[in-house]
Each structure stands twice: as structure tokens, then as C-alpha cells.
Amino acid sequence: MRTAVLKFPGTTCEEDVVKALRLVKAEAEVVKFNSFDPDRYQGVVIPGGFSFGDYLRAGTIAANSEAMKGVREMADQGKLVLGICNGFQILVESGILKGALLPNLKLRFITKWTYVRVSRKDTPFTRGIKDVLLMPIAHAEGRYYLEDEEEARELAVFQYSNPSGLVVEEVNPNGSVQNVAGIANQAGNVIGLMPHPERASFSKLTPDGSTDGLEILRVFGK
């Protein structure tokens, strides 16, 4: 699948994402925010980083950019949209996904390997994948919030869990409602998540040799 990996000024993870996407044979390339043509791609990934320095609020300046109008078009056409970390923040800030991402309860940046339970398998990204994935988080503003907790649970695709997939408060790294680590839109073609699948795509980099991130990215290789 022709996949654009969007680079805003301040994006830091674009090359890492391309490297992982090539493992699943996606036709991926880095596209600068000011030269993005949505019609040329079937899928788009908004990688992590600090777009526009995260000035004002994480993701908010990028959310109001021309490039994000293109992403919204793709989302509306049912094309695949994946936002990772800052990309998730941008999707939420632009209103393409519901809710908000608030500062972590500990009010500081946290890097940590986390287990997430896959709570929805009705999306193209999660169809038929394992129940529990191991991926690292790295963020200061990743506390998912939605006023209606029931709705948050329905939208949730990934929830922080223990290694056996139990969603328990002790493993919630940032205070997200319902331990939400990632959500999708109703249709399931747009997903945002705080953990980094591209960092869980190379066995030599993961604590246990797993490559769970590839499970999510694989859809771009089809």
C-alpha cells in the first residue's frame, strides 16, 4: 500500500516508522507537511515527535495545518490513518478522533515498556491479531480523557493491561480513563495510540524478542 509518513517541523519518528513499515513491505515514504497530496496515498501515518515544538498544546498547531485537511479527506474516504504518540495527539486535536490527551498524572515525561490488551478487533489494524501486545510508551501528555467513560471503553482499541491482558489500574502509566492507550473512530479506519508500534518491530530492541508492533503495521503491507 502506498503510505505517506507525514513529517511536520519537529516530528522525530518518521524514519523509524518508515524502517518498520518496510519490514512489512509497505511502500512507505516520508512526506513533508507542506508537500502532502492525499490523493497519492492509500494510507497515512502521523508519527511521533514534537510537531511545531508542541507549542500552545501538544499537536494543536499541526492539527490546524493544511496537511491535516488532507488527512481528514483520507479518513472520510475510508483510507487508513494511523497516529502514533504525537500523531494521536494531532488526530485528537483536529477532532478526527474523539477525546483529549492530558498531561500524565505524574506531570512528567515517561518512557516505559507497556502491555496493552487489544479490545477491538473490528478494525483493519487489529483484525485477527494477538490479544496482548508489548510496546513502549514515551510521552508527557498521554492521559486519554473522554467525559463519557462508557463511550471511551467502546472506542478503545488498546488498553494498558498486565501481561495476561487484565486491564487493572496498577499498570495505568499515565492516568488515562479506562486505561485507554489507543482508540479508533466508529468505522475503525482511523486509529490513534500512545505506544510506539515501530519501536516494537525489531526483535533485538524489545525486552523479550517479540515484534508486536508489526502486527498493527502489517495492514500497510497489504
Partner: protein
């Protein structure tokens, strides 16, 4: 603004020029001749460091730039270390953040892509001030490193009252570049255009002088630079885009434009039109523009025909890029403002500050010895924050970005990073203020040896190092003697291990508010190439083998910091370090061990903490420890040349050690269970200490 020039230096300037310089010219001379930029008190001795050797592609020129070594397939590794001690004492967040920004620009100014950062931090303790400093220093480093997408992969954290008023914040960076694409920092031909990117503002006025004197206690916030990591990220991306189109690059650091222009011209001349400098604020005076140390700026020397293309890359990001002048053949540095000459000085004068060799004198040391029981010493040492788990700090860094951090912070004594050519390097920074305080010469050798061992512990052999020499006021004879001694020690060890010192930095005037110098704190950052396999250490049940000889060397250790000196000073017997390191690398390649650690801070006892904290008990037979019968020395001596190894094949180590001419002894075993140390079958429960080890920083600093 205070000048730091002495009356003698001022007289020399006047007589060379045969006139009284104007105010702006004094400021330019003051910046160029500052200790920070000129190395006038250190250069004579720095020249003795071994800076060349097999694999060195580029070594220090005038002690300003990053060095580079060959890492195979045409790739070079670029390495640099720097401190931001004084700014961090006044504004720890911005001081530390700009330290990171500065070291990154040092790497990109060689055309190299930064791939990893290290931070080595020293504060007075976990009191209110120490906590304020540490929280902000870590947050500042995290803010910058994370924002630009360069992983902080390791470092050091130490707490010692000597740093109460004057914290040490050292940052190091490694980068990679094709050796054929390294960009020089000096020009060789006139006619090139000087292109400045980035805005110039009012922050960091006179920062080079600020770094070259002791903290005054007065309002010095104006000398601290403000960090803008987003601008830093754009600067990195755009600079690397245009690196093939520029003839020379230099980052603007200490001394601002004055220093960057003069050093880039390197004996040629330069004419700069100050009104062309893009300003962040209105109404800056010409002198302020010349010496401002605003961050996130770079100076390029560019052929006229390439200027447009270079600037286009920056304009893409709305980043200012202007031609501000040119390199000329007449060897004068001239700054004009709207046609009026502001500064006009001979290049040679600026580049030739008088060098000093200050008087030296041996420090008289007295140490009070406190009586202590083994049990009490064990608890106190194991509870010391220097040994505590550092997760609170490194979890604030985005150490996974770049998908190349193979051995991560907290996993081992060195980080391991994958290079673009598929090979792996290990990096580590080491200092030892306890040993340097009692014997700077032995300490100089020991920190090189320790870094070499730390790299070996993950399977790498040191190939290059940079040093950072942090001392008090060089005009004090006791300080200067320690300074010279430590350089001698570093030089000898670097030569012995064939690890050239390819760059470095000196920071003097680190003193407390009463004018007492900090303990001498030279620091080594070493990089090594993995030879074959690398090790991700993991604690499992197995036999404990101790490589090397444990001597009654309790002086200059963490133990003596707490309980006074006993026995002797730990001398660096470099052959023992080399042979033991080689044996560890061999063992890793033959999969003969699951875990190992070089023995250093806190001695054997200190190195047990990671084992005890992983749900294991340790059994030690003290009679099997070779070299001493003294129980305090067995547990706390910091003799070099030693590794503690976990293995299921102790016999292999005995044989291999004996073949190499060193000693290995099976001193005990590790079993699953609660955290207890069985010392000759007497159980010492250590659950409280281990609990505290794991959570100390989190509890104190959250």
C-alpha cells in the same frame, strides 16, 4: 558586563595595537581570550594528551571541535563532551537544556547526525536545593533531547556535598557521518560568504566570560541562554540537508559571533555587517549582537553560487538565513554597523592569547576516620543515592527514539547502539571525585580504565574518548597541581589502552560560595566497538566469579567519603584492567556468562545491588576473595581491574584467567529468593535496603 581580562593582558592588547581599544573591541578580546574559549591555562598540558592513533580521522584542532574515528565501511563516529555548570547553577532547566543544544550543534557542525546523548550529573545531595537542581536539570535535558529526537542512552548521577553550590552538568553526544562528508570548521580560502542562520537575541550576553570566572552570587540570569528545542530540531534537520553545500560550519557557542567568525577565519580575515544579523528583539546594540550567545544559530562559509540553495532549506521552515559578511584575505576581523566600524582587530591578536602555567603545590590532606561496624557500613553504602536505581531519571528520556538503542539505560554499565553500517558501539561516561580528591594522578588513570572496563562489560573494546576536566580556580597552586596530575594520568592510560583522546573541554572556576574548589572532577566519555557479540545482561541463578585482586584500598572511595580513609589509595594497575576486560569480551562471545559488572563505586557490596534487586539472594565465601582478609576491604575496596561475573561454568574462568596471567575465584553463588546477603553463611537481610535502592529517587523527587 564584567571583563575577565587581567591588567597584564589588557596591557598586552594595548601595546600590540598601539592604541586603546574601544568598548566593543574589549568585549571581543575578552570573549576570545576567556578561559572558556582560549584554554589559556590548560593548553600547555592538553597538548600532551595522545590525540592520534589508528582509526583517528579527525582529532582536536585547537581543542575546540569534536573528534572523529573510523567505525568501518566508510563511516566515522564523532564524539564530544561539554559541561554547562555555571548556567545550571543559576537556571538549572535552561542551563541543562542549552547544554544539550550546544553539544548537538557541535556534532552537526561536523556534518554528522547525532545518534545518542549521555548526561553526567553531580549535585550536593537530596536536600531541598539538590532536589530543585536535579529535577530541573533532568527536565531540561529531557525537554531538549526528546524534542529533537536524539535518545539519551546513559550517564551518571552522583551526590556529594562538594557540588552543593556548583553542580556539574556534563553532556556528551555521539554522531555518525560518512568520513568523506565531514565538514571542516575553518576556511582555507578568502571570498566565501558568511551565512548566519537563526535569530540573535539578548540572552547569554557575555556567557563565555561568565563560564570563566566563579559564580558571583549576584544577578547573573542575563548570562544564561534560553533553550528553544523546536528551533534546535529545525536547525539539525536543515543543517544536515545542506551540509554538502557549505565549505565550513561552526556553531555559535561561547563568545557568540565574535568567536565563531574569528575561529572560522582561522588566521584569514572577515568583514561582517552587523545590521544584516536577523534579530529577535529590536534595539540591540552592535556590541550586544557581537557577543550574544543566543542558541540555535549556526555560521556557514558558503560559495556565492550556493547561498540561495543553502538558505532555501531554512526558509522552508521559516527559519532566518542571511549573508552577514565574507571571508577576506587581509587578516583582520572587522565588524561594521550601518557603515561605521565597530570592531577592527588583527586576527592574530585574537587567536594568540598569552598562555599560562600557574604555580603548583601539593595539597595537604587530612582525613578523619570514623569507627563503623560491617553491618552499619553495608547499610549506609547500599542506601547511598550514588548507587540508587536511576529509573526516575532515565524514564524521562526518550531513549528508544531512533530504533537503535540495543542495551538501554539501567540495563548495564554501558549503553549499546546500532550504527548505520550494522555494527554496534558502546558508550559510557565516568568520573570519580573521591579518588581524584586524594590522588588526581591515579584517578586520571583510573577513570580511563573504568570506562574501558564498562565498555568491555557489554562486549565492546574502547576506540576513542573525550575528556572533560572540571576544577576550581587554576590560579590556586593546589588546584593547578591536581589539574596537571590528572592530565598526566589520563594521558598515560589513554596511551596504554590505545584509546586516543579525540576531543575535550576544560571547566575551571568551579567553587563553592566560600571560594573552596570542588573536588577535582575530570571525566572521561569513551566509545567502543562491539567485537562480535554484545551482552544484554540478565541475572539468573549461577556461580559468582570474581576476576582480579581485591586490595586493602579503601582510600578515595565511597566508603572513605562516608567513614574516612583506611588502607591505601586505589592505584590503577592498567594491565589488570586490560587483561580482565579482554577476558570478559571473550566470555561474552563464547556465551560463558549471563551477567557481569565491573567493580567500582561501593566496591563488591555496591555491585551486588542489581542482583539483590532482581529477586535473588547472594552467598559469599569471604575466604575465596583473593588479595585481602580484611572484611571491610573485601566488601568496599574499589581496587580496579575487577569484574563480578555470573556464570554456570566457573571452571572456564579459572582456566582462562590463569592463561592470561590474572586471577579468578569462585566466591559464591546467586539463588532465587528474598534479598539477603549470606556472608560466610551468616544471613544479613537487605530487603529494606533493596526496597530503598529501587525507589529512592522516585520517592524523593516525585
Amino acid at each position: 558586563m564584567m571583563l575577565t581580562l587581567s591588567s597584564k593582558e589588557m596591557e598586552l592588547v594595548r601595546s600590540t595595537l598601539d592604541r586603546e581599544p574601544n568598548e566593543a573591541e574589549w568585549k571581543v578580546v575578552d570573549a576570545l581570550w576567556s578561559e572558556h574559549c582560549s584554554y589559556k591555562s590548560s593548553k600547555t598540558f592538553l597538548r600532551s594528551l595522545p590525540t592520534t592513533g589508528q582509526g583517528v580521522i579527525m582529532s582536536v584542532e585547537d581543542w575546540q571541535d569534536a573528534g572523529a574515528v573510523d567505525v568501518g565501511d566508510g563511516w566515522a563516529l564523532v564524539l564530544k563532551v561539554e559541561s554547562h555548570n555555571h548556567p545550571s547553577a543559576v537556571d538549572p532547566y535552561n542551563g541543562a537544556a542549552t547544554g544539550v543544544g550546544g553539544i548537538l550543534r557541535d556534532i552537526i557542525s561536523k556534518g554528522a547526525r547525532p545518534i545518542a546523548l549521555l548526561d553526567m550529573i553531580r549535585v550536593g545531595g537530596l536536600d531541598a536545593k539538590g532536589k530543585w537542581l536535579l529535577k530541573n536539570i533532568i527536565a531540561g535535558i529531557a525537554s531538549y533531547g526528546n524534542s529533537v529526537g536524539v535518545p539519551v542512552v546513559g550517564g551518571e548521577l552522583s551526590f556529594d556535598p562538594t557540588y552543593t553550590d556548583n553542580p556539574l552538568v556534563d553532556v556528551a553526544c555521539v554522531g555518525v557521518v560518512k568520513a568523506s562528508e565531514i565538514v571542516p570548521s575553518v576556511v582555507r580560502t578568502p571570498g566565501l560568504k558568511l551565512v548566519l542562520v537563526g535569530f540573535t537575541g539578548l540572552d547569554g550576553i557575555g556567557g563565555a566570560s561568565f563560564a570563566s570566572r566563579k559564580l558571583s552570587g549576584m544577578d547573573e540570569i542575563g548570562a544564561v541562554q534560553i533553550a528553544d528545542p523546536f528551533a534546535g530540531k529545525i536547525l539539525i534537520d536543515a543543517t544536515l540537508e545542506v551540509r554538502g553545500k557549505v565549505e565550513a560550519m561552526k556553531d555559535l557557542g561561547g563568545g557568540g559571533l565574535a568567536v565563531a567568525v574569528t575561529e572560522m577565519a582561522n588566521g584569514l580575515g572577515a568583514r561582517v555587517q552587523l545590521e544584516r544579523v536577523p534579530l529577535r528583539v529590536k534595539g540591540m546594540s552592535p556590541e550586544e549582537i557581537i557577543i550574544s550567545e543566543t542558541q540555535e544559530r549556526m555560521l556557514f562559509a558558503v560559495k556565492s553560487e550556493n547561498v540561495q540553495e543553502v538558505c532555501r532549506a531554512f526558509e522552508d521552515y521559516n527559519y532566518p538565513c542571511e549573508v552577514i559578511g565574507e571571508i577576506v584575505s587581509e587578516p583582520r576581523i572587522t565588524f561594521t554597523y550601518e557603515g561605521k566600524v565597530v570592531v577592527d582587530l588583527p586576527s592574530q591578536l585574537l587567536l594568540s592569547p598569552p598562555l599560562f602555567v600557574w604555580p603548583m603545590n601539593r595539597k595537604v590532606r587530612t582525613e578523619e576516620v570514623k569507627e563503623v561496624s560491617v553491618r552499619e557500613a553495608l547499610s549506609t553504602i547500599l542506601l547511598h543515592p550514588d548507587l540508587g536505581n536511576k529509573e526516575w531519571a532515565y524514564s524521562q528520556f526518550d531513549y528508544e527514539v531512533g530504533v537503535s538503542t540495543l542495551v538501554k539505560p539501567g540495563q548495564a554499565d554501558s549503553a549499546v547502539i546500532e550504527l548505520p553500517n550494522g555494527r554496534q558501539i558502546a558508550v559510557k561516561g565516568d568520573a570519580n571525585q573521591d579518588l581524584c580528591e586524594v590522588d588526581a594522578y591515579e584517578c586520571g588513570k583510573a577513570i580511563v580504565a573504568e570506562a574501558f572496563r564498562n565498555l568491555a562489560s557489554v562486549g565492546a573494546r574502547g576506540i576513542a574518548a573525550v575528556d572533560h576536566l572540571q576544577f576550581g580556580d587554576p590560579r590556586k597552586p593546589e588546584v593547578y597541581q591536581d589539574f596537571v596530575d590528572s592530565i598526566r594520568g589520563i594521558s598515560e592510560a589513554a596511551k596504554f589502552f590505545s584509546v586516543p583522546i579525540v576531543g575535550g573541554k576544560v571547566s575551571f572556576h568551579n567553587e563553592d560560595k566560600n571560594g573552596n574548589p570542588i573536588k577535582p572532577t575530570p571525566l572521561i566519555v569513551m566509545a567502543g566497538l562491539v567485537e562480535g557479540k554484545y551482552l544484554k545482561p540478565r541475572v539468573e541463578e549461577g556461580w559468582l566469579v570474581l576476576l582480579g585482586i581485591t586490595r586493602n584500598e579503601l582510600r578515595g572511595t565511597l566508603f572513605s567519603r562516608l567513614f574516612g580513609g583506611r588502607g591505601e589509595v586505589a592505584r590503577a594497575r592498567l594491565m589488570e584492567d586490560l587483561l580482565a576486560s579482554e577476558l570478559i569480551i571473550k566470555a561474552i562471545n563464547e556465551s560463558k556468562l549471563t551477567w557481569n559488572k565491573d567493580i567500582n563505586k561501593g566496591g563488591l557490596a555496591g555491585s551486588l545491588l542489581p542482583i539483590l534487586a532482581s529477586g535473588h539472594a547472594v552467598h559469599i565465601n569471604t575466604k575465596a576473595v583473593i588479595g585481602t582478609r580484611d572484611l571491610l576491604s573485601i566488601l568496599f575496596s574499589e581496587s580496579g581491574g575487577r569484574f563480578l561475573v555470573l556464570t554456570d561454568d566457573p571452571h572456564w574462568f579459572h582456566i582462562q584467567a590463569s592463561r592470561k596471567g590474572i586471577v579468578a575465584s569462585t566466591i559464591g553463588k546467586v539463588t532465587k529468593g528474598k534479598a539477603s546477603l549470606f556472608l560466610d553463611d551468616v544471613e544479613l537481610p537487605l530487603e529494606r535496603e533493596v526496597e530503598r535502592y529501587l525507589n529512592m529517587l522516585e520517592e524523593e523527587l516525585s
